[in-house]
Symmetry: C2
Subunit: 336 residues, 2 copies
DNA sequence: TTGAAAGCGCTAACAC
DNA sequence: GTGTTAGCGCTTTCAA
């Protein structure tokens, strides 16, 4: 096995305490002699000593590790989020345990439970559905956590989200200003609060512009197999509203899927006024004229971590923080 | 603070040992009375007991946690890899600490060092550059690890990679069979062994087909700012070889960037015979006719974990495993 | 059928 | 300047 503080202490005829202090950098402030400090450090290096952080965690009561629970790490959106969260965490000396809940509430709960057992110092969660068992549990145990991307209206938690309503409003308003009269919206995961907000933003912008809403223009796509479901739904849309002239995609991959559909059906989609919530690579070349509202993903990740760390630091005295970030409006994604 | 085994023992007038055994499910096999077992379990639940896994780790000597070091979690390719690795790890009861090395060898070393200190049971690494300090360190300490995606020819390690040479060969051969004579290849991160292999596969396929290689057809793009660098390099290519009629993209985003360029320059790229190593969303609609060789990412992740766990389990007796997976050849990405 | 006690590696209050 | 010691929460051997 690897060498421990005790081994070093024995070899050098010193006490564990001395070695511990010196190795954790408190040698000088504790007033140890130059000689001893040097002796310990050199010996430690020579025998390849590396601290056992799990012992340290047990002793200190914190692990310098955070937990992240997201629906799907393979989704580029969450992957980016995870990336920036990890980055900010690392900057502050924390590691990140990443878990995918697969959009399953029970799994989410299991993961949270395990993370707690592993004694992470706090967690960041992009919650799934309306399952709140895990969240409630965290609250009961008084463990710091912050919700990202989605949140619950009726619960007091830290959270950082984007202004879904406002961004959608701004986007749809732009489409209207470009002259679109019959703007369809494509929606998926419609049960999510954030999605509802986007759709409300859409409705509000239309209302404000004096355009009457048409239910036939609201297209709901099944998330699970959206790539096939969208064909059917769009066929239906074009049948019912042949003169549709605009599209508001509530999320990036719906835009991509819709364009895939148009190309397949031979529809010249460039004639539509289009806007997408959160863009993705490829869209910019397929439809450079498309407007977009882009997530401040980096900021979102960093904010989440900062709030979490503040919560961890301040403990009981911490007052919950809710942050609503603003998207960036991009008139056309081609010139980003 | 949270309740511990000791608290339960005190409250129930039992010993810590008894409680520990019962709570870890060995109650019946140890032969405790029904009554005691029930009493302990119920009490534990009533006070919301949850085990402290760090204490458990310290005592047992393993953490049931793995470490993953990849260049960039925000890259969709690595994100997917991380996703499948986490999935397989979770299936086996392990958590995953994910870290991005940012393609920086020193950072990679730091991360490995920290992961070791946190006493992960093993690590999976997609190494950067030719920096092997971290790897050497792991070997010296005899800590189980497996390399993915990239590996070092001159070192004895576990690794799982794809057949880069073979896949590239197959792809370029297909382009030749479609009639392409002057096939350019776009390369980035050319110093990487895997990239070299792909380029060699390209060369070999040309050689085999009796096509003379033209250095002007080899386009090297700077990874850091490939989106701007590629314009200049392609301008140069078209100037020097105006009748280029095929493209072999050594990685997905180069294909996307090249198409972005073509669209910008008004080049009808559909006339080219094209092939890409590893595809991405959007390419299928932009160039459905493009051939591709797709990574078995899921298999790669799962294999890596399985090998790592076997190594952890068998320890000294484990014989290192090298696995070369086969890509799937896709004649045209439009019909996947 | 249950308990006592040592130990995992590290920290920190308190001594000398 | 340096050492003693108790303790973090859990496992496990040995005893009773």
């Amino acid at each position: 096995m690897s060498v421990s503080i005790k081994d070093i202490a024995n070899a050098l005829n010193l006490s564990k305490a001395t070695v511990s202090w010196i190795l954790s950098g408190q040698g000088e402030s504790k007033g140890f002699s130059e000689k001893t400090i040097k002796r310990v450090k050199e010996y430690a290096k020579s025998v390849n000593y590396r601290p056992n952080l799990v012992a340290r965690s047990l002793s200190l009561g914190f692990s310098k590790t955070l937990g992240l629970v997201i629906p799907f790490l393979r989704d580029s959106y969450y992957a980016q989020m995870a990336y920036y969260i990890e980055k900010e965490a690392a900057k502050n000396g924390y590691s990140l345990i990443v878990c995918s809940s697969e959009g399953d509430g029970n799994k989410e709960y299991e993961l949270i439970y395990t993370l707690i057992a592993k004694r992470v110092d706090g967690l960041i969660i992009a919650p799934t559905k309306t399952e709140v068992k895990g969240i409630k549990y965290l609250q009961k145990l008084d463990i710091p956590f912050v919700l990202v991307d989605r949140y619950y209206q009726n619960m007091e938690t830290n959270y950082v989200i984007v202004d879904n309503f406002g961004s959608a409003y701004e986007l749809v308003e732009a489409l209207v200003n470009k002259g679109a009269k019959k703007i369809a919206t494509l929606v998926t995961d419609a049960h999510l609060f954030v999605m509802k907000q986007r759709v409300e933003g859409y409705s509000a912008a239309l209302r404000e512009a004096g355009v009457k809403e048409d239910f036939a223009l609201k297209v709901f796509v099944d998330r699970q197999n959206y790539r096939v479901d969208i064909d059917e739904k769009l066929d239906c849309l074009f049948r019912e509203v042949p003169d549709v002239d605009g599209f508001f995609f509530t999320t990036h991959y719906l835009a991509m899927a819709a364009i895939r559909y148009m190309v397949k059906r031979g529809v010249d989609y460039h004639r539509f006024k289009m806007g997408v919530f959160h863009t993705m690579a490829g869209l910019d070349v397929l439809a450079p004229e498309m407007a977009a509202t882009v997530f401040p993903i980096e900021e979102l990740g960093a904010e989440a971590v900062d709030i979490l760390l503040a919560n961890i630091r301040e403990g009981k005295d911490f007052v919950l923080q809710a942050k609503v970030l603003q998207n960036t409006f991009l008139p056309s994604i081609g010139d980003e």
